[in-house]
Every structure is written in C-alpha cells, then in structure tokens.
C-alpha cells in the first residue's frame, strides 16, 4: 500500500476537488465535494480519495485484480480497526481475487461492462451491501467502518457492511441498580443498543430512524418509537427539534439534550436519560420517544415527567404492596431531601417554640459549645458531604468507596468531637445526603442545588420564606413543559386516576391504560378484568 501511495504521489485530482478540500481544511466551506459523482476510471477515483483522505494513516487502500477478468482492477478502502479483517480478507478479497463462483457455467463470459453487477450479485459473501456513486457516500461508509469496493470502469462503488471493532461488552447498569429485573444496560455502540431494544420489542411497529448529527463527528442518532402507541405530533416535534441542530460534534447525548430542551433557563432538566434497556422499552410502550446516540450508553427519553424521579423499573417487577409503600417512602424522602436542612435551620434560628420542649433542650444542649449559627453549621456539613460525594465519583475506582465512607465517618465524627458541629446537624445532613440516593441520580441534581438555596433563604426569613420559596418552586415546576406535556402531570394538571402509578404502584391488572396525555393514540394497555380469579368464577 505504501509503495502504491509513493508511486501516485505526483498525481492530483481535478482542480475543483482540490479547491474544495483546501477550502474545507481552512474551515471556509463545508465538504462541498460530498455530492460529487465518481469517475469511471479507478485511477482518478483513487487519486481523489487519496487526496481527501490524506494523512489518515488508518485508512487502508488495497488494490488487486479480479480473478474472473484479470484486466479489471479492484480497490478496497476501509479503516483499519473498524472493519473486520477476517471478513474483508476471507469474504471479499478471497472470493474476488481467487475463487470462481462454483455454479457458473463454463461458457459464461464476463465482460467489462457486466463486472460491477457480477461482483455485486455473485462475487461477495457479505450479509449487507449497498451502492453509492458519490464521494460523500464513500467517505461516510469508510468512516463508519464499512468496506468500500471500487471497480475499474464503473462510476459506482459497493459498500460492504463488514464492521467489527473493539467494544465494551454489555454489563449491569451502572447508575440504576435493581434487585430484581433485567441487568443488561446499553453500551456505546448504537447498533448493539438498537438490537437490545429490538430484542425486547419484537414488533415491526418499533421504528428506529437513524440520522447523523454533527458536522465533524457525524454521530448517528436514532429516533425510536412505537408506531401506533406514540402520538404522531410528538415524533414530528422530536424530528423537527433534532433537525434544527447544527453543531460540529455530538459526543454524548447531553449535547443533544441541551439543544432540544423546552426550558433552557430552568435548573430542571425536562429530558430524562437512562442506560437501562427495560426502562427505555417501558418508556416506549407508554408512548414516549427515545433518542439513542452513538457513542454513549445514555438514551434520552421524551417527554419527561417529574414523577419519573420516584419511579424505578423495579417497582413494576416486584409485588405491588411493598413497592407501593416504597413509592410513598420515596415521596416522603423527596420532601425530606428538599426541606430538611432548610427547616432545621429555620426552626433553630427563628421558631424554637415549635419544637417540643424536650427536643429543643436536647438540641440546645448539643449546640451549646458550637461556635457557629445553625446556617453556617449546616452549610459546612452539606458542603463537606458534596465534596466527599464528588471525590467519591472522581477517585480511581478501587479506592473510591472506601475513602468516601471513611472520610464521611471521620469528618462527621471528628467535627462533632471537636465541637464544630452539633450531632443533630450531622444527622440532618447525613439523612438528606442518604435521601438523595433514593432517586435516579440525574433527577436529584437540580434539587441538590435548590436545597442549598432553600437553606439560605430559611436562615434569613424562617419558615415563612421557606414556604414562599416552595410556592415559587412549585409554580416554576408547574410552568415547565416537556415536549408539550406539563412536567408535573399527573399531579398538575390533576388526573386522579393516574396517581395510581405515581403515588403508589397499582397492581398490574389495574394499570389498564397508558398515561392519558402520552398514550392518547392507543390508550389501553390490556384487557380489563384480568385480575386473577378462582376457576369457578371465570367465565
């Protein structure tokens, strides 16, 4: 290959392409060569491609003669490491350069003009092939791991899908653990991810529409939905918002998230993400749209409701009695998480009379030696907790957990011993910290921010200020929409029948309908009256 390159070094493609590539390299014009058609001459095509792919040392150009008709030269172009070498050498090169298709009659003569169709139809042992006649098509295919076959004398190319690269294997979900339920989570490869979804929903109604976003990265993004369940306007809106994006790179779904969000100025993210396959499948079945991005296991699901923060996939796998209790506990936890430090500060600063006397005396006794006001105390502990948590995440994994736990205990214990904070404060902050782990991680991020704000407000204006800020918070949440669906639905606007999947988890045979605003296309999930009955009472 190297020799070939050297010998062609003097050659240059036609002046327009040279100009286009040069302009592109200067950042002036973007890939105007993309729509250029191929030439019939292999030499010219290769020169052009060499020019475009100059200095891309991972691209392999392999020229060889066609076994059936030795005066036809073929060229393979692929990226080393993205294409499966075994497939390329065994099923493309071997069959083209050595073997004769066995069923071919002796007198069958291939002419130069037929060569392309012959190769396409009889010469390749590749499961999926395509054709292109533009430079852009070739470059896209090569860059995404396909192997392109050029045939001399034909202004077309065959795209062989012989991809095979190193990828992480499918593992447990890292962010949302369950005790009972599927463990698979998404990986970085888009194709693997779509296959995981397809395995859950074996139905042609599951649509997976792929488009590429990112002028430089050309990242594949799949818009996934179940036709007949999803509300058609929603799909149109998702496509519309995605097609508006003109950006150089999409490295993670977070890039898209911020560009298609309804409420860019809100601390709350109205687009949820998850790496759990079963969760995405359940979301799709409720009438949502999932946006899969190549290169990240995190899938965006829209529209998002605030109530998703207290729902875990496991709720639907375990028996409903206990998991209804868990739902209620999560709601209480949510409230504790948000207002526990704030009300602690408010009570100690302004409203001591509201505490039962015995409790007040005990706390006052603890705080006697503490030199700080309640606010400073709580902020110190909260900040420490946030630092420990951040450190726990960023630290190299083997030491991460141990250090964070030891740090928490040592700092908590030592600061109490040293008289810097009262034990009651440690309890409040620790409870708040633990409470935040009850929910899905990303959902708690805005609440963590607001918790600090509320604590400070409570320290200056007491419970009154706290109530006012909570009203403003609720107002803000009520004004949010995610892809047209009110964020607080089904609490606001109130839809009492649907609270059975929010406040508690109703038994499977009672969850007859999809959420009304999401699934209005196809409301009924199941037949009514499926509640198991003794045999005598069955109809």
């Amino acid at each position: 290959m190297f020799d070939f390159f050297k010998s062609k070094k003097g050659l240059l493609p036609d002046i327009q392409i040279q100009e286009a590539v040069r302009l592109e390299n200067q950042g002036v014009k973007e890939q105007s060569w993309r729509s250029r058609k191929l030439k019939t001459s292999l030499k010219e095509n290769l020169t052009t491609l060499h020019f475009i792919l100059a200095d891309c040392h991972d691209v392999v150009f392999r020229e060889f003669d066609f076994a059936q008709l030795p005066d036809i030269r073929l060229a393979l172009i692929y990226v080393d490491g993205l294409a499966d070498k075994i497939q390329v050498s065994n099923f493309i090169m071997r069959s083209l350069s050595l073997e004769v298709p066995p069923a071919l009659p002796k007198e069958y003569k291939i002419t130069k003009a037929q060569a392309f169709d012959f190769i396409r139809n009889r010469g390749l042992c590749i499961h999926q092939i395509g054709e292109t006649d533009t430079l852009g098509g070739i470059i896209d295919a090569v860059m995404s791991g396909d192997t392109v076959l050029l045939v001399d004398g034909h202004a077309k190319a065959i795209i062989n899908s012989a991809r095979g690269w190193e990828a992480r294997s499918i593992e447990d979900s890292k962010t949302e653990a369950v005790v009972r339920g599927p463990r698979e989570s998404f990986v970085e490869t888009l194709r693997t991810n779509t296959s995981l979804l397809r395995r859950r929903i074996k139905n042609p109604a599951l649509k997976i529409e792929i488009r590429s976003i990112g002028k430089i990265t050309r990242t594949d993004v799949a818009i996934t939905y179940i036709k007949g369940v999803v509300y058609p306007d929603l799909v149109a809106e998702v496509k519309e918002r995605l097609s508006r994006i003109e950006i150089d790179a999409v490295l993670e779904s977070g890039y898209l998230e911020e560009l298609i969000d309804d409420n860019p100025l809100s601390p709350f993210c109205t687009i949820n993400h998850t790496d759990r396959v079963d969760k995405v499948a359940a979301m799709l079945l409720e009438g949502r749209v999932a946006i899969l991005t190549d290169g990240t296991p995190y899938v965006l699901t829209v529209p998002t409701l605030f109530s998703e923060i207290i729902q875990s996939p496991e709720d639907y796998y375990q028996r409903y009695f206990f998991y209804s209790l868990i739902r209620l506990i999560r709601i209480v936890t949510l409230i504790i998480f948000l207002i526990a430090p704030a009300s602690y500060v408010a009570l100690l600063t302004f409203h001591q009379e509201m505490l039962p006397t015995a409790l007040l005396l005990s706390i006052a006794g603890q705080r006697e030696a503490v030199p700080f006001p309640a606010l400073v105390e709580v902020l110190i502990m909260d900040l420490t907790f946030e630092i420990l948590r951040e450190a726990g995440i960023r630290m190299p994994q083997p030491i991460g957990q141990a250090v964070s736990i030891v740090g928490a205990i040592v700092i908590g214990e030592a600061s109490v011993r040293a008289g810097l904070v009262a034990p009651a404060t440690v309890i409040v902050v620790a409870l708040t910290g633990i409470a935040s782990f009850t929910f899905c991680y990303s959902g708690t991020l805005p609440l963590r921010l607001i918790k600090f704000l509320l604590t400070m407000i409570a320290a200056f204006t007491g419970l009154i200020g706290l109530i006012c800020s909570l009203i403003i918070l609720i107002t803000h949440l009520a004004s949010l929409r995610s892809f047209g669906i009110p964020f607080l639905y089904p609490v606001m606007p109130l839809s009492p029948a649907e609270l059975k999947d929010v406040v508690v988890r109703a038994p499977r045979w009672a969850l007859l309908t999809r959420p009304h605003l999401l699934g209005k296309e196809n409301l009924h999930r199941m037949k009514a009256g499926l509640k198991p009955k003794p045999p005598g009472k069955r109809k």
């Binding site: 009154i464 009203i471 803000h476 004004s479 606001m492």
Partner: protein, 345 residues
C-alpha cells in the same frame, strides 16, 4: 380549568356581631355571593370571549368605559394589596414580630409577580395542588381540635336578632363578592358552558372551608373569646395537644393561609395586570408586572399604619366600598345591557 378563590379569613369580626350565630351569617353571605356571581356571569356571557375591561367601553362608550375600567384595575390592585397586607401582618404579628413588615411584603409580591408571569394556567394548576392540600389540612386540624370543642359554645341558635346578623353578613358578603374577578376570568375558562355550575361549586367550597374554620373556632372558644382574639384560628390550633406529641401545629394554618392567600392575591394581581394591559391596548401584560409589583408592595406598606387599622378598615369601610364595585356597578351594567340590547347577537 376550575376556578376557585379560596377565602380563609379571620372570622373574628363576624363573630363580634353575630356571636354564636356567626356560622349562620356565612350561609347568608354565601347566598349573597351566589347572587353576585349570577349577575357577573350573566354580564360576561353577553360578551363571550371578552373580559370586563374589553366590554366596558362597548357598554358605556369609549371614555366612560375606560374610566370605569380604570376603577376596576384600581380595585384589583387594592384587593391584591389587602390580601398581601393581611397575610404579612399576620405573619409579623404571630410568627416573626422582629422582622420588618416590608420583608414579607416583598416576599409576597415576588410570589405573585412570578406566578403572574407564568400565566393563568400555571395559577390554576398550582391551585389544583393547594386546594386539596388546604382542605385536608383544615379538616385534619378540625378533627384534631375536637377534644377541645363544646357544643354549648354555639348555643343558643338564632339568639342574636336580625340586625346584628345582617351587619355581620356584610364583611363576608364583600369577600364572597370578590367573585367579581370572574368577569375577567370567564373568557379564559376551558368549559364556558359549565360556568354556572363551576362557580356555584367553587362558592360552596369556599363556604365549607370557612364554616370548618368558623365552627371549629366557635366550638373551641365560644363567641366571647373568639371575638377577642386577633387570629382566632391560629389560637384555636394552638390549643391542640394530643399525647404531648402532636402539638404546636401553628405552621399548618399558616401554610393554608399563605398558599390560599397567594392564589387569591395572584388572581387579583393577574386581573389588574391584564386589565391595565387591555385598557392601554397592550398585547401582553408581562411588561406591566414589575411596575404593578412595586405599586402593590408600596401600597401594602403605606395604606395602613397597623394591623388594627387594617382590621378596622376591613370591617367598617371595606364592605360598602367593595360591594359598590362587586354588586352595584355590575348590576347597573347588566341593566344597561339588557335595556340597550347590546352584546351577544
């Protein structure tokens, strides 16, 4: 969209007149409220899709209509200010006596300004959350206070005579009359047809809430004590002590107060903002929120030097002032419309 103003006020002055029959005067006031709302709804339905400020010029001609409209903007600003001030004074007097009043006025104004900025729909939504919350809190408090209640406290019934009863009805009637805001809200209702049913329902709901509070307080304290407390509901809740564990629940009536007061004041604020926008022919009322918020805060601070003055105003002057706008003017307008035959074709 359900419309329900939540009125939860200090039933003190009513009790002062009507003694143990205060709960009766609310019933009468409710009847009056229904009458007022019927006038307002009929008037509004003559001009479908238009607010009070839009059809006033149609009824009275351009300039007179605008002037009356201006009075209504003032009325809504004043109502909003009063609610704001009532709640702030309560907080200062009962909870945080050392904090200046203006701090809470600013709190309140920020709240209504923000909710108004988010729009009527958001207001209706948060009301959907607050209403059940308030009803359940009030009911729970009522139930918790039952050990302290004595039926003797509201006996004998019908002992006070008609005149005191009529006098005691005026203030609650003027509160029920705040349903005049419907004249601005009706065009924005989703279900125009059910407006009668919804309004009566909303009024009835308010009645039930007020009766819970009044009866609860009366049963606990009796008429004499009730009328001598500044905040009888709060004092009533202070009496609750169950097993030395459930006690000091004052925060809960406060939550009810703040949430319902916010919804109510915001509705007036919104009406004032929308009204002034429509009077001046603006497309959007949002630019007016900031100036109005400043006006409301300043008025709230300046109108009354003390809470005693505020309560005097509310009981002595307010009913006549408010009922003029709430009942007499709409009634006259309705008569003009019926005589002129203008409005709906």
């Amino acid at each position: 969209m359900i419309y329900a103003t939540l009125i939860l006020f200090i039933p003190q002055n009513t009790v002062a007149y009507a003694k143990q029959d205060a709960w009766l005067s609310f019933l009468i006031a409710f009847a009056g409220g229904v009458l007022i709302s019927l006038v307002v709804i009929n008037l509004s339905l003559c001009f479908p899709g238009q607010t009070l400020f839009e059809y006033l010029p149609l009824i009275l001609g351009r300039w007179p209509g605008k002037i009356i409209g201006f009075f209504y903007v003032w009325l809504f600003i004043h109502f909003c200010t009063l609610v704001d001030r009532e709640y702030c004074s309560t907080v200062v007097a009962a909870f945080m006596p050392e904090t200046p009043l203006v701090v809470f006025l600013i709190h309140g104004t920020i709240m209504f300004a923000y909710i108004t900025y988010c729009g009527l729909e958001v207001l209706a939504r948060i009301n959907q959350l607050f209403l059940p919350l308030n009803v359940s809190l009030l009911t729970i408090l009522f139930v918790l206070a039952t050990p302290e209640m004595k039926v003797v406290n509201i006996l004998p019934v019908f002992d006070t005579g008609l005149l005191p009863l009529a006098k005691s009805t005026l203030t609650p009637l003027s509160w029920f009359g705040e349903i005049i805001t419907l004249a601005v809200v009706i065009p924005y209702l989703a279900e125009q047809k059910n407006v009668y049913r919804l309004t009566i329902k909303a009024l009835f709901f308010v009645l039930v809430l007020i009766e819970i509070a009044t009866l609860g307080v009366l049963l606990v304290f009796g008429p004499t004590l009730t009328s001598s407390y500044l905040f009888p509901v709060l004092s009533g809740v202070k009496m609750i002590n169950i097993a030395n564990f459930i006690e000091r629940l004052e925060i809960f009536p406060l939550i009810v107060w703040i949430t319902s007061g916010t919804v109510k004041a915001t509705l007036f604020f919104w009406a004032a903002a929308l009204g002034s926008a429509q009077l001046f022919g603006l497309k959007d009322y949002r630019p007016l929120i900031l100036p109005l918020a400043v006006i409301v805060t300043a008025l709230g601070y300046l109108l009354h030097p003390s809470i005693i003055d505020l309560i005097n105003f509310l009981t002595q002057a307010f009913p006549f002032y408010a009922l003029t706008f709430e009942f007499i003017i709409p009634l006259l307008l309705l008569m003009v419309v019926l005589i002129k035959g203008s409005g709906k074709k």
